[in-house]
Each structure stands twice: as structure tokens, then as C-alpha cells.
């Protein structure tokens, strides 16, 4: 009996640790028959299996491949074709780290781009630094990624300080006075809550917050706790993946948000994925979410052509993840071209001197140390779903005012 129990525990432990990697599968973008002589090998990394967000990882891979195909059709870089080697990070530090190692040691790539989860990216930048490989982070927002000041690490996504700053700007603009925050226990979630709390305190706005386990599926206790003898003006859902959808669904069932009294803001990129309607149904109507891109907002002359090409190739509209992925590749191609070599130090130097029109604006990398070091910061749009089953592209831009297309609709 006792033996069985102790065995059970050993197995439980193994089980918990293996499930993380059980679902591993990696895909190489493109064939790998060509020798390293006549191609330039570019590494891609991102989550293709849970607990990471597979929709995100797949879109990164597709957009990077698209950029590479375009560049190759135009004659390549330094007279050679680019080739993408894409590895699954599952959004976890362990898997991300080994995927990076594989790209560097086995595939021998000259530079790497991608990743959409901060916990994984934080492990991956260590590999980039140790092996001196340039790494452009496409979609992970933790400040620490660039704040560490590694010269190999660049980023084209917003960082947390920017995200939280813009969220607080939004809260001030619409005069919300009582804020409730539910956040996941990831680097992204916890990092954001701390930054938001500091700023809300400075501005004298009332708030309460709860950090929750990402594996939990029943958020009713936490939601009840947040609204106990309290009616917030807005609920900030700082979650990703399944948790983000479940919070929307359960807050709606409890009648907490979105309601006439309490708006709902979804911080994760998941708000823009089509799964939102199948998983949350009518609960997501009136949800406010953020995105660095909407087809209703035209950033540069590259935006439309990319969107068209992506639609043609993959038969659906890209989210901003696609724009980030695409930009990372054209930045790398531009830097390698200017560097005239694939030596890491030369590429890094060229990257620092980048001045390139991307799909989202003119990209430059600041050199001043801090969270914005090597980090080009794009715009952030606040959107609202006004219909059930609305396509993210049809949602209205409600903030910032200079690009907004409609006012916030408050449900009855």
C-alpha cells in the first residue's frame, strides 16, 4: 500500500514534468537539403504546442517564411538564398532553451528571430548571449529581455512598460476610476501587474488585483474575490491562451463583465484569434482588446502588400504577430546585406545602425540602456468587438483618438 502511494507520487512528478515536453513536435521551414555554402541559414523559434500559444507560433513561422520567400525571389542576400529553420519552444523555458541550442549547434544558423512568450524568451536570450548569435525577439514583452542589455538581443514588439503605460493612458482617457486586475503567473502577467499598480498608485486611481495559476480552469473564486463589495469600472484580463478565454467566459456567466458598470479589457494576443468566438461565444461581445495592428489603421506602404501576400499564401488575415514576424526577417536581411558578412559581430553592428521601413513604421534600435535598449516600439491600438462572431479586422478602433474609428459601446 505504502509502496503504491510512494510510487504514485514519483509517477505524478514525472508525469507533470513530462507533459510539458510530451507534446513536442518540431518543424523545419523549408527543406534542408541544400548545403550551408550557398544559403544563409536563419533560425526561427516560437510556440507550436501548449502551454504556449500554437496559433501565435504558427503565424510567426508562416510570416517569416513569407518574408524569406519574397527576399529569395528578389535575388536573396549577398547573392545567396535565405533558408528558415523553425523550432518549437512550447512557450516554456526548458523547451525554448533546447530549441535554441539546436538551432545554434545543429542547424548552425547565423541569426535567430521569433518567440512569443516571455518566460521562454528569457531562457533563449541566455543561449543567444552565450553563443554570440543575434536574436530578434518578435512577440515577447517582458522588460527584462532588453533591460538585461545583451548586445545580441533586439526586439520589435512592445515591452511591458510600454504596454502598461498605454493601458494606463487608455484608462485615464476614458475616466475609469476603479480598476480590477486578474493576471496569470507568467513573467508577462506578473511583470505587467506590478507596472500597472505602480502607475495607478501614482495617478491615484483605485485598484485591486489577483495573480492566478495558469493551469487553473475555474476562475470563479478569483473573480468573486475581485468583485466582493466592489464594483470595478473596468476588469483588466491580463492572461494568455486558454485562461484568457475562460476569464471572459466566466466573468460573463457571473454577470461581472462586460456589463454597463464594468468594461472588460483583454491584454493577451488571443483576443484577435478566431478561436475566441468558438470558446467564449457571446461573452466576448463588447470586450476591449489591444493590438499593434488593424487593417483599419494603415501604418506604412509595406503594410497592405504584406497583408495581401499573407492572405494569398495562407488564406486568412494575419494578426500583428504576422507583421512582427515578417519585420524580423526583413530587418535581418537588411542588416546582413549592409554588414556584407554573416559574422555575428558584423550583423549586430549593422542591426544597431538599422533605419528601415517595416510594415509598422520606420524601425530603429535605441542604444540607451534600460527596457527600451535595442527595442523598437510600435503603436498600440485599443479595439472593441461590437458584434458576436465579429472578425478582429471589423472591430472598431477606440483608442488612440487620432486613429480611432468609433466610440466605446457600453452594453445595456
Amino acid at each position: 500500500m505504502r509502496k503504491k502511494i510512494s510510487l504514485l507520487f514519483v509517477m505524478m512528478f514525472m508525469f507533470a514534468s513530462i507533459v510539458g515536453c510530451a507534446s513536442s513536435s518540431s518543424t523545419d521551414g523549408g527543406g534542408n537539403s541544400s548545403s550551408s555554402e550557398d544559403v544563409i541559414r536563419i533560425g526561427g523559434i516560437g510556440p507550436l504546442t501548449p502551454p504556449g500559444s500554437p496559433a501565435l507560433g504558427e503565424e510567426l513561422q508562416q510570416s517569416m517564411q513569407l518574408a524569406i520567400d519574397e527576399i529569395n525571389a528578389d535575388g536573396g542576400v549577398l547573392g545567396k538564398d535565405l533558408e528558415l529553420f523553425y523550432e518549437d519552444s512550447a512557450g516554456t523555458p526548458e523547451k525554448g532553451q533546447s530549441a535554441m541550442e539546436k538551432l545554434v549547434t545543429k542547424e548552425k544558423v547565423v541569426a535567430i528571430a521569433g518567440e512569443g512568450h516571455s518566460s521562454a524568451a528569457l531562457a533563449e536570450i541566455e543561449v543567444a548571449k552565450r553563443n554570440n548569435v543575434p536574436f530578434i525577439v518578435a512577440e515577447a514583452w517582458s522588460d527584462s529581455i532588453t533591460e538585461k542589455g545583451y548586445e545580441q538581443v533586439f526586439r520589435v514588439a512592445p515591452n511591458n512598460s510600454m504596454f502598461s503605460k498605454r493601458v494606463i493612458e487608455f484608462i485615464q482617457e476614458f475616466g475609469y476610476e476603479n480598476v480590477a486586475i486578474i493576471a496569470e503567473d507568467s513573467d508577462w502577467g506578473i511583470g505587467n501587474v506590478e507596472l500597472m499598480e505602480t502607475q495607478l498608485e501614482e495617478k491615484g486611481i483605485k485598484y485591486n488585483s489577483i495573480v492566478v495559476d495558469r493551469n487553473t480552469k475555474d476562475f470563479v473564486p478569483q473573480l468573486l474575490e475581485l468583485t466582493k463589495e466592489n464594483e470595478p469600472d473596468i476588469l483588466l484580463n491580463i492572461m494568455t491562451g486558454i485562461g484568457a478565454y475562460l476569464v471572459v467566459k466566466q466573468a460573463h456567466e457571473l454577470g461581472i463583465s462586460p456589463t454597463a458598470e464594468t468594461a472588460m479589457f483583454m491584454g493577451g494576443a488571443d483576443a484577435a484569434y478566431p478561436e475566441i468566438w468558438e470558446t467564449t461565444g457571446e461573452a466576448s461581445k463588447y470586450v476591449i482588446w489591444q493590438t499593434p495592428y488593424s487593417p483599419k489603421a494603415d501604418f506604412t506602404e509595406l503594410t497592405k502588400p504584406f497583408v495581401e501576400a499573407f492572405k494569398k499564401e495562407y488564406d486568412r488575415n494575419p494578426s500583428y504577430v504576422g507583421l512582427h514576424g515578417y519585420d524580423t526577417v526583413i530587418i535581418l536581411a537588411d542588416a546582413i546585406e549592409r554588414a556584407g558578412s554573416t559574422e555575428p559581430d558584423a550583423i549586430i553592428k549593422a542591426l544597431e545602425e538599422t533605419k528601415l521601413l517595416g510594415t509598422r513604421g520606420e524601425i530603429t534600435f535605441p542604444l540607451e540602456k534600460g527596457p527600451d535598449y535595442h527595442n523598437w516600439l510600435p503603436d498600440l491600438l485599443f479595439m472593441q468587438y461590437t458584434e458576436t462572431n465579429q472578425s478582429p479586422d471589423d472591430a472598431e478602433i477606440v483608442f488612440p483618438k487620432n486613429v480611432s474609428t468609433a466610440d466605446i459601446i457600453v452594453p445595456e
Binding site: M1, R2, K3, K4, I5, L7, L8, M11, M12, M14, F15, A16, I18, V19, A22, S23, S25, L48, T49, P50, P51, P54, A55, D185, I210, V211, V212, D213, N215, T216, K217, D218, V220, P221, Q222, L224, E225, K228, E229, G241, I242, Y245, L246, Q250, E253, L254, G255, E275, E278, T279, G281
Partner: protein, 293 residues
């Protein structure tokens, strides 16, 4: 007070669902003396089958649940026949280890099979009902409420089978002594398969019921399975009563923890309780492993 009652109600609701899963696990352990490590994956299988029936084939969601339960019952029986038979034919030396490893392997296989067939995305079958039910202290989605009611009914049916039918008597006999029961003419092999099938079907039932509430994805069964293990250790492995009380207790303790301590560590409270039980009452709260106590 009202906030406390709301937390407590939610705890009991979740507890009932845990109960269904834990009961299946304890049933399998009671009869076969095997810890089924693929229990969470039968839960997942039930959810995917109900998804296929209600969303892809467009049939009524109740049909989805019924088909899920029966399909997994059959799958469970086949699994038992195919994978666990060597134990009873004395083909393996380390029986406990063999059973753990084979069900563990099955679990990894099923997770990856789901990943290949359905992809990693989260899905949701048709809910049993839309709208919200106001319980006074707490408004509950009707989907969740139906899930609990059906879970209680399923548990009731299982208890009836165990306590009042010939099948149940035979199963209890096997659980007490496999060899002696064979002497009095009980076909332990066939009944073992049926017990495994019923246990797996209960997990599938829980999965199908909860699929629209907590969504469907390949690793959905991991956390519920671990909770079920906690419950059956808590309530004494193999004890039917223990599984039900243990489940309700787990639900309540989680909500108490949320209310009095911090909502962030909800899942930690059950494990804390488990450690305390193992230190002070290692046989669980409801005695030994006989399951008609």
C-alpha cells in the same frame, strides 16, 4: 458572508465534478489494484468525442455525452484486455510497476494522438444550455449546473450498481479477494475489464460534461487527473465513500483557502492538505483499501 457562501457553493460544484472522476479512479484501483495513469486522458477522450458528435456531426449535445460515455466504456474495456492482461497471467514480475508504466505510456500516447488528430487548439462543443442560473449567492452558467446535476446522477447510478446489483456484488467480491472470488465462480477477468471500462467511462463523462465549460485541448486531463489522485489518497485508495467525501472536501477546502488566505494559490491548498493527511493519517481518512466500508 455572502461572498463566503458564493465561494463555498462554487467549491461544492467543482467538488461534485472531481467526485465523478475520482470515483472512476478508485473503482479501477479497488477492483484491479491498478493505478490508472491514463485517467486524465480518458477524461480528455470523453471531451473530444462529445466535441466531434455535437460540433462536427451536429447532433444534440446530450447525445454527445451519452456517446462519449459508451465509447470510452468500450475503449476502456479494450485497453484493459490489451494492456493489463499480462498482470493476471503472471507474465510480469513487477506487477505494480508494470501497471503504472503501461498506463503512463498510454497517457502520453493519447495526448500525442489528440495533438495529431485535433491539433493543439482549444475547442468547445455545443453547450447543454445557454444562459445563467441564479442560485441566490452565486450566478452559475446553466451549462455548469447541468454538468453537476448529471455528474451526481452518474455517481448515483454507479453507487447503485456497486451496492445493489449482482455485478456490484461480484466486483466487491473481487476487490476483497480475487482468488477466492474466482473459486466461487466469478469471472474475474471479464469483470475486471468491465470495472476498468466503467471507471474510464466515468472520467469520460466528467470530460464530456465539462468540455463546454472548461474547453477541450490535448492536455486538459492533466490537472483533473492529479486532483483525482489527491482525492483518492485523501479518502483512502479504493474506498468509494472516501472518493466522494474526498472530492467534496477538496472543493470546500479550496474555496476556504481562497476566502481566508489568498485566491492566487488555490491549487496549492489541496496539496497542502494531502501532505498533512499523509503525515498524520497515511491510510487516508476512510480506513484501508476495502471499498465497501
Amino acid at each position: 458572508m455572502e461572498a463566503f457562501l458564493a465561494q463555498l457553493t462554487n467549491g461544492l460544484i467543482i467538488g461534485c465534478i472531481y467526485g465523478l472522476m475520482a470515483l472512476g479512479l478508485t473503482l479501477i484501483f479497488g477492483v484491479l489494484k491498478v493505478i490508472n495513469f491514463a485517467h486524465g486522458e480518458f477524461y480528455m477522450l470523453g471531451a473530444y468525442i462529445s466535441y466531434v458528435v455535437s460540433q462536427m456531426l451536429g447532433l444534440h449535445p446530450v447525445l454527445g455525452i451519452i456517446i462519449a460515455v459508451f465509447a470510452v466504456f468500450i475503449i476502456g474495456m479494450i485497453t484493459e484486455k490489451a494492456l493489463l492482461t499480462p498482470i493476471y497471467e503472471n507474465k510480469v514480475d513487477q506487477k505494480d510497476e508494470y501497471a503504472l508504466l503501461i498506463t503512463f505510456g498510454l497517457s502520453i500516447f493519447l495526448i500525442n494522438a489528440a495533438l495529431v488528430v485535433f491539433g493543439p487548439y482549444q475547442m468547445s462543443p455545443q453547450p447543454l444550455a445557454n444562459g445563467v442560473f441564479d442560485l441566490g449567492v452565486l450566478s452559475v452558467s446553466s451549462g455548469r449546473l447541468y454538468a453537476v446535476i448529471l455528474a451526481v446522477i452518474l455517481m448515483g447510478i454507479t453507487l447503485f450498481i456497486i451496492n445493489k446489483t449482482w455485478l456490484g456484488t461480484a466486483l466487491r467480491a473481487i476487490s476483497q479477494d480475487r482468488d477466492s472470488s474466482t473459486i466461487v465462480g466469478i469471472d474475474a477477468k471479464a469483470l475486471g475489464s468491465i470495472a476498468f471500462g466503467i471507471g474510464a467511462a466515468m472520467a469520460a463523462g466528467a470530460g464530456a460534461l465539462l468540455a463546454p465549460v472548461f474547453l477541450v485541448f490535448p492536455i486538459m486531463g492533466v490537472v483533473p487527473a492529479i486532483k483525482s489522485f489527491v482525492i483518492i489518497v485523501l479518502g483512502s485508495m479504493g474506498s468509494v465513500k472516501g472518493a466522494i467525501y474526498g472530492a467534496l472536501m477538496l472543493g470546500v477546502i479550496e474555496s476556504l483557502g481562497v476566502f481566508f488566505l489568498s485566491p492566487s494559490y488555490r491549487d496549492a491548498y489541496s496539496f497542502l492538505l494531502l501532505i498533512l493527511i499523509l503525515v498524520f493519517k497515511p491510510k487516508g481518512l476512510f480506513g484501508g483499501s476495502q471499498w465497501n466500508n
